[in-house]
């Protein structure tokens, strides 16, 4: 017996059409789902921050007469943070490798995409938490200055406020690290293993 003897068995299995259980309505729905997937979480995040910064500019700056320089600086920081965040998120979606429809290029693309997403989660402090923290600090101090005329806040109250903010940042960072460990690393390891298996003789 040799390997070619299995060809007959393979042909028999291929003629067995009883397995073709096709849910056509399901396919239609999933195709729509694929198209909708383009408008994913990154889109909504960008959308939310663009709306947020537009509202901050309109209600926090343009429609008020008592806005001090510190508040304006805070709002400007938010607008800049939104632009940077948008740029970072869009850049992370862009894949540089070309798809020639081979398994090799598909694996390369998947690996590049996942590495970019992993990097995005890994650097969440740089592109999301740090800019938002600058905005939060500047805008809260600015509002305090606008209302009281003083720069020094009530340390006890502000310590509590910033502690809550820091705890939120820590939670977001921890969730991202968990996602990296539980989702991205195993996926990347598997895809890289497959890639090595494909290209190494």
């Amino acid at each position: 017996m040799n390997l070619d003897d299995l060809k007959a068995q393979w042909r028999i299995e291929m003629q067995h059409t009883g397995h073709a259980d096709v849910r056509f309505e399901g396919i239609k729905g999933e195709v729509s789902e694929f198209r909708r997937a383009g408008r994913n979480a990154a889109f909504w995040m960008i959308f939310a921050h663009v709306c947020g910064s537009a509202l901050a500019v309109f209600f926090g700056w343009l429609t008020r007469d008592d806005v001090g320089w510190l508040s304006k600086l805070g709002i400007a920081a938010y607008v800049i943070a939104t632009i940077w965040m948008t740029f970072t998120l869009l850049r992370a979606r862009k894949v540089t490798r070309s798809d020639d429809w081979t398994l090799r290029s598909r694996l390369e693309i998947e690996i590049e995409r996942l590495e970019k997403q992993r990097n995005l989660y890994n650097r969440v402090g740089v592109w999301l938490l740090a800019p938002m923290s600058v905005f939060i600090v500047l805008s809260t101090l600015g509002r305090h200055h606008d209302l009281t005329g003083g720069y020094l806040p009530d340390l006890f109250a502000w310590t509590h406020f910033y502690s809550v903010w820091l705890a939120m940042c820590a939670l977001v960072y921890w969730l991202c690290r968990r996602e990296i460990t539980r989702k991205f690393d195993p996926l990347l390891s598997r895809l890289k293993g497959l890639y090595r298996e494909l290209v190494e003789n």
């Binding site: 393979w10 299995e13 396919i27 999933e30 429809w101 081979t102 290029s105 996926l187 003789n201």
Partner: protein
């Protein structure tokens, strides 16, 4: 859904399911079959009739299968460990069907070698496989020879 696509899927449904069976974790085969069908449907307008239909199906199905790992990593690792622990099949015993031999041999191979074996059994040429996998025809020929040797060592003894 055009009737020719309907016809195509019914005609090649067993092939699609066989590929999915090799790559999906148990319990996730139907999901992978659906995923492959969705991708086939999406790429159907770009399918060139001058290429063999099997080539197109393998291209789409293998791309889908190899990247369909999100829910299946742990389960597949468990299955691989079970296969590794099971004793070597040795020479074919009387009463062992060819279907069993095919299934057990496929299970012992790595994902890439299994894809090459399925395409080889389906009669695809090294050039066609090269176009699907993105590696040279020579590399494919070497792997097929290695598969033949491994099969011989395992089942002929």
């Amino acid at each position: 859904m055009p009737s020719d696509f309907d016809q195509l899927v019914r005609q090649h449904g067993a092939r699609i399911r066989r590929i999915a069976l090799r790559y999906a974790a148990s319990g996730a085969v139907d999901d992978l079959v659906q995923d492959i069908l969705v991708r086939l449907w999406r790429s159907y307008p770009s399918y060139r009739a001058d290429a063999r239909i099997e080539t197109w199906i393998y291209r789409v199905a293998l791309n889908a299968s190899m990247t369909y790992v999100k829910e299946s990593i742990r389960e597949r690792e468990r299955q691989a460990a079970l296969i590794a622990q099971s004793p070597s099949p040795g020479a074919v015993q009387a009463g062992t069907s060819m279907g069993d031999v095919l299934a057990s041999f496929l299970a012992t191979l790595g994902d890439i070698d299994a894809s090459i074996l399925m395409m080889y059994l389906d009669g695809l040429t090294a050039e066609e496989m090269s176009g699907i996998l993105g590696i040279s025809g020579n590399a494919i020929a070497v792997r097929i020879n290695r598969l033949k040797q491994k099969f011989s060592d395992t089942y002929v003894g």
